[in-house]
């Protein structure tokens, strides 16, 4: 392990795999806890859980530098955590506390954090496409070699803004990746009822490089993202990455009946294609980690999330005089 290069590389690979595993698990436990907070009436408002989609955010963000940019969505906890956000400050924001990422002014759908390149989660479907593309414009203009990733769900495919931005990105060769998470449902409607033609034909029409990937396979997502991010960074080539995934829970924490789909369908995704379980099996099979190590990680993550929730619950609300602060810079 000390001298030859190959083992050193593999040590890096192991470290990376463990990091991805831990991050996926952190997102899983985070959003399970979000549901718990909602159920116990401890969280104001609603939240949209990322459960089931963890491999997409983690696979893509693992391919990014800390100073690369992302824009996120209303279902954004996973993106923010994958890009490096701290669970305690995330929970604090979800609970409307002053120490939260946005000092309690944004909440679940608007986590933003310059220190991790997070330009902000956005509650207008497709609404962040301009911001992500503009960040890529700045990166190219300023020569910073940063890449920008625009996360959006397949519901955003119905928004014209997305296509205006993709046209600009390809026309001006901007280092931006449009990461489409197809979790099959535009809120309560199956995407096949809202989406004409072939999704990948849309970026193709702009001459944009486009790929699709199994969004439940974090290794596949990471490999594809790495390729596209490197292309963007080196050659200012934008790309479109379609990640096929599944939303385990309802549109938001309060969407309990889910009459628009079957319990069998949900069970099939959860048992046969769970991104965390699949990856854990692979880690063990490859000898990269044993079950004891994974259990230890599980327990560490559990403790971290518990502590984060306690921190957020104990934190203070902002004082009323802060209502008028930060309207203008």
């Amino acid at each position: 392990m000390k001298t030859s290069e190959a083992p050193a590389e593999s040590a890096v690979a192991v470290e990376q795999s463990i990091r991805m595993y831990r991050r996926m698990l952190t997102i899983r436990r985070f959003d399970e806890e979000v549901n718990e907070l909602y159920t116990r009436a401890l969280m104001p408002g609603l939240a949209h859980m990322y459960l089931g989609e963890e491999a997409v955010a983690v696979g893509i963000c693992e391919a990014l530098r800390p100073d690369d940019y992302i824009t996120s969505t209303h279902r954004g906890h996973g993106h923010c955590l994958a890009k490096g956000a701290r669970p305690d400050l995330m929970f604090a924001e979800l609970l409307g506390k002053e120490v939260g990422y946005c000092r309690g002014k944004g909440g679940s759908m608007h986590i933003a954090d310059p220190s991790t390149g997070n330009l902000g989660a956005n509650a207008i479907v497709g609404g962040s496409a301009g911001i992500a593309t503009g960040a890529a414009f700045s990166a190219k203009r300023l020569g910073t070699h940063q890449v920008s990733v625009c996360f959006f769900g397949e519901g955003a495919l119905g928004q014209g803004l997305l296509y205006e931005e993709m046209n600009l990105a390809e026309l001006w060769k901007l280092p931006v990746i449009y990461a489409c998470e197809n979790n099959l449902y535009n809120e309560y409607t199956h995407y096949s009822e809202t989406t004409a033609g072939d999704i990948l034909a849309r970026p193709a029409a702009f001459g944009m490089h486009a790929e699709s990937v199994d969004g439940q396979d974090v290794r596949a997502v990471h490999a594809a993202a790495k390729r596209l991010v490197d292309r963007a960074r080196e050659g200012n080539d934008p790309a479109f990455l379609l990640c096929n995934t599944y939303r385990y829970r309802g549109h938001h924490v309060g969407d309990l009946n889910r009459d628009y789909r079957s319990r069998q369908e949900e069970q099939r995704w959860m048992t046969e294609r769970d991104p965390i379980k699949t990856f854990a099996d692979w880690l063990i099979e490859q000898g990269l980690a044993d079950s004891a190590r994974l259990k230890q990680i599980d327990s560490e993550v559990k403790s971290e999330i518990e502590a984060a929730v306690q921190f957020a619950l104990a934190a203070s609300f902002p004082s009323a005089d802060q209502t008028k602060q930060d309207v203008y810079a």
């Binding site: 944004g106 956005n122 496409a129 414009f137 700045s138 931005e165 046209n167 600009l168």
Partner: protein, 340 residues
């Protein structure tokens, strides 16, 4: 001559007569020379210099890297500007006709205006959206509106309405240096009108109204295209012995409430003239501010004069009937002063 005021401290050099369009262009050119982060983007802004020729010559000096022709995608390039502003640049977006701002509304209202607040003050959006307002070009209902009230309604945005070349230059320079999203409305019928502009460096702060004419019997608060109308009315009023004061707020937000209220207290009668629709509009808001602030000093209700509540029609006699004129302001002022 520009008058002394908060913008004094001007290095009084030579004063030239510039058109409104030249003043706008000069402000942009100076700011682009001063700050390499500033760039312009919009439809036909480069070689064409916009259909109004406001930006003619800019691309020759700064190149197509900084004066950028875009596709006809108002939402797209406005959204791109929001992101670019957040990440280290200072975009100046050109929206050719004010009517087209409707296409940018999500990016301006839900994104640009909210980013700073929603992020707890962590991100900021130093961008300018320049656009036009005003009827009178025989362009019908989709090229003639004055939609500045829409933006004035939204916390997080600043809204600027220059009425003279001097104000246009000084206010645009301030807008470009501001750390917030600023919407800058230019009256497209005013582009060729001339006025004195000093050659030296100056800026005009936001939230400072300008007294365009002093008077004692009635206050005419007027914005943008309506300032000349109010001054025209004031000249007519003088002939019948009524002394009208004309006040131009110059920015609808921030708003110099004090100057409006003080003038109202002095004259006791006020008409607000604004080319947007009066109902639920800028005129309505300014009238309300004055009524609240000067109620006990008023001798008559504060009146609003705005565009007629119809889509702006094409046919000249119809279009001309929709916008306040020197004569309509004069008539209302005389009535308000009990001299009709």
């Amino acid at each position: 001559m520009p008058k002394a005021g908060p913008e004094a401290g001007v290095v009084e050099t030579t004063v030239r007569e510039l058109t409104f369009a030249e003043a706008v262009r000069e402000a942009l050119a100076e700011e682009m020379r001063r700050d390499p982060r500033v760039f312009v983007l919009g439809e036909d802004v480069a070689e064409a210099g916009t259909p109004f020729k406001v930006l003619s010559g800019l691309v020759e000096e700064f190149g197509t890297e900084r004066v950028i022709d875009t596709p006809i995608s108002e939402a797209g390039f406005t959204g791109l500007a929001v992101g670019a502003a957040m990440t280290g640049l200072r975009p100046v977006v050109d929206i050719m006709f004010g009517d087209f701002v409707t296409l940018t509304m999500d990016q301006m209202v839900n994104q640009a205006a909210k980013v700073h607040y929603m992020s707890g003050g962590k991100w900021k959006v130093p961008m300018v959206l320049r656009t036009t307002l005003g009827a009178g070009r025989r362009s019908a209902a989709q090229h003639s509106q004055s939609l500045h009230a829409w933006f004035s309604h939204i916390p997080g945005l600043k809204v600027v309405l220059p009425s003279t070349p001097y104000d246009a230059k000084g206010l645009l320079k301030t807008a470009i240096r501001d750390e917030n999203p600023v919407v800058f409305f230019e009256d497209k019928m005013t582009y060729k009108s001339k006025g004195p502009v000093p050659s030296g460096e100056y800026t005009i702060p936001f939230g400072v109204a300008d007294v365009k004419r002093e008077g004692s019997d009635i206050t005419l608060v007027a914005t943008s295209s309506m300032v000349q109308v109010a001054l025209g009315a004031a000249a007519l009023l003088e002939e019948v012995g009524i002394s009208a004061e004309v006040i131009d707020p110059r920015t609808t937000w921030p708003l110099d409430e004090r100057t409006l209220v003080e003038s109202a207290k002095k004259t006791s009668r006020v008409i607000v003239v604004d080319e947007g629709y009066g109902r639920y509009g800028v005129a309505a808001e300014l009238a309300s501010v004055i009524a609240e602030g000067a109620f006990y000093n008023l001798d008559a209700p504060v009146k609003r004069l705005g565009a007629m509540q119809v889509p702006i029609p094409f046919s000249p006699p119809l279009e001309d009937a929709t916008v306040p004129t020197d004569r309509s302001v004069f008539d209302l002022a005389r009535e308000l002063c009990g001299r009709s």
